[in-house]
Amino acid sequence: MSTTDTKVDPAGGASRSPGRGSGDGSDPSWLERITGGGSPLVVLLRISLLGLVVYNAVVFTARLVDERAWLALGAMWLATVGLVWLFTRPGRIPAKFIVPGTIFLLVFQIYPVLYTGYIAFTNFGTGNVLDKPTAIEQLQAQATRVPPDAIRYDSTAFADETGALALLLTDPDGEQLFGTSEELTPLDDLGDVTTEGEQVTAVGAFERLSLVDAQEFASELQELRVPTDDGAIQLQSLTTAARAESTRVYDEEQDLVTDTVTGVEYRPVEGNFVSDDGDVLTPGWVAIKGTENFTRAFTSPLIRGPFIRVFIWNYAFAIGSVFLTFVLGLGLALALNEPRMRSRRLYRSLLVIPYALPSFLTALVWTGLLNTEFGAVNGLLGADLPWLTDPWLAKISILLVNLWLGFPYMFLVTTGALQAIPSDMLEAASVDGAGVWQKFSRITLPNLMITVAPLLIASFAFNFNNFNTVYLVTRGGPPIQGAQTPAGHTDILVSYVYRIAFESGRGADYGFAAAIAVLIFIMVAGISAYSFRYTQALEEIA
């Protein structure tokens, strides 16, 4: 196998001489060497795409330098230079075909997966999203006092569409500065300034507020702190501001923050400065905290109980879904796979309809159908069952909805597999006197499984993370009583992660969410690795 891999394809070698496709018969000129040959249209397309890549790289360089994102900057230029190098010379045809998709794969799938692994070991979450220097800057800007000899400014308020506020400050020397809650910049350094006469009316997305409008934002404006090296600039009135000094001093050597008014010292503990009395300063920063996110799932009693329930239900849900959809799909395929039967095609195309509808819509529709008071299901049954609010009924509902969503697929694939079973085998069995059940269990089912087993494992892997069915039908509910994290009786791991990340009342806990995601990664990888034994994919690589 390895010999065929390393052998150079003769056809690939032939096309390496540049300019073959251009057909004008001249020597490979410098132009062709750069363009790699091909029709003028292809060359034009290639050059403009590469031009676009280089142009964007140049544009983003300045912004990445601003953000001090050195790693991203390096990666971007490495990719840009690599792309230009690859596509401006002949040969390396395999790379030319594979690289475009690979770049997307690296940036938007592999990197996020690795990044998830990193977040899982940190305290990333509400209150801990900044890096440490920024957090210290903001802590210092929070606690300020205006000394008697402070620099004072004339001030005008600005606001952008999102409601973020900014100040245009004129110092005693007449120099103008523009300050946001993030930074203070001399106005001359900002490119996008609109003026009318003497008056500055807009800076970037920020627009000048009239005094009347500013009055509306008065309380927010009073709280605005524009960070400076040793404190912050804050408003004194709506039109004047003063440079205040921070009452918190950061000592870099000892890595501690001291409050100069109270004398209390704050030391860093897992991403926050904390005093000896346990007073925590916020915001904190993103800090590595080790394996705590992982162990928490198993050791903290308020998390462990619900987590284990979610875990067990996740397997029950995935196995149950595969089993039910397969049984119903196969049963229908057996019943309808009879050549003498009329309107077989009609049945088939109508039965596939649930598969053709977008599942996010039908999942939402089922929520309405299963409503206790007014739902169609209770209406038809003449019952009053709490389909979505009782822990056990909710589980049954979820399986029912997933059965409805999934059986057409199983029906399609088992029908296909049934038709591939040689009919003479069944006929021979009949001649030998085998009954219907014997024929099914000894011939049909084993033959069917050869084709369908990999699909069943794939279906299991899919349902293991079937977020839509669970979340859109029940939101994971009804809630498990006494759970510290948002967990419900029908939650599977992925919906549980989603709710920890985006719906927790105590603020987002990305670190813990990522840790659970990593645990799911490991389980799914286990399932996939197992399934590879059933596919011939590995042997097929020739």
Partner: protein, 281 residues
Amino acid sequence: MTRWFQDIGWRHLVGVVALLFALFPVAWVLSASVNPTGTLAGQQLIPAEPTLENFRALFATDFWLWFRNSLIVAGTGALGTVLLAALAAYAFSRLRFRGRRTGLLSLLLVQMFPQLLAFVAIFLMMIAIGDVAPAIGTGTIAGLILVYLGGAMGVNTWLIKGFFDTIPKDLDESALVDGATHWQVYSRIIMPLAAPILAVVGLLAFVAILNDFVIANAVLSQNSDSWTLSIGLFRYIDDRYGARWGPFSAGAVIGSIPTVFLFMFLQKYIVSGLTQGSVKG
């Protein structure tokens, strides 16, 4: 008669019961969309006086904006997916090079770590991208499409490669001898012949993107102008199930049209594509 029932009749019975199960939610939504009361409480299977009032109420929301966003995201995403996956599939099927086997195996390995599960990281990453490049950062449709293209390779490349392998090599070899470049062989010979599998991969990508809620919500939730149908309709109906049932049903009816249309259009390819592709891994 009983003989007929034992042979054929029971099959019709099973078929009809299955049809009732498969179609009753569909019938119910269709009727709810034209029901004059427009609430969950007031629904009947056959409304006495059908109206289009629910559609009017639906169009008063941002429905068309969500619908348009969904079509753009799913359409562009599906197209890009087919293109990127087919490019790589061509190299894996037609060219022999060092690292080919490793590359194919890596694609399988990457599939073990689905993008869906990394949504927390994608959420945080898109915020960071938004700081540098607002046009493709959090809250933008363009950013969401780029994220989806990250999942383009993998299974799709394997599916398409499997089909490319069945196209006789004599075709492209003779073209290469005649002086065609690999790009020309790919775009003029292989791609047209592979239309069935490209259609199936495109359809599956379209449906998967249209159905996605998790990643779309992680990327777009802060900017309501960029919401897709799944986010928009979910937020519209969430918590107000009873009162908004009618307009929601109208939205479900319209929202289903693109995929139903695609399925009808591509029906003949789907079954063969599904079984063939999946069996090959």
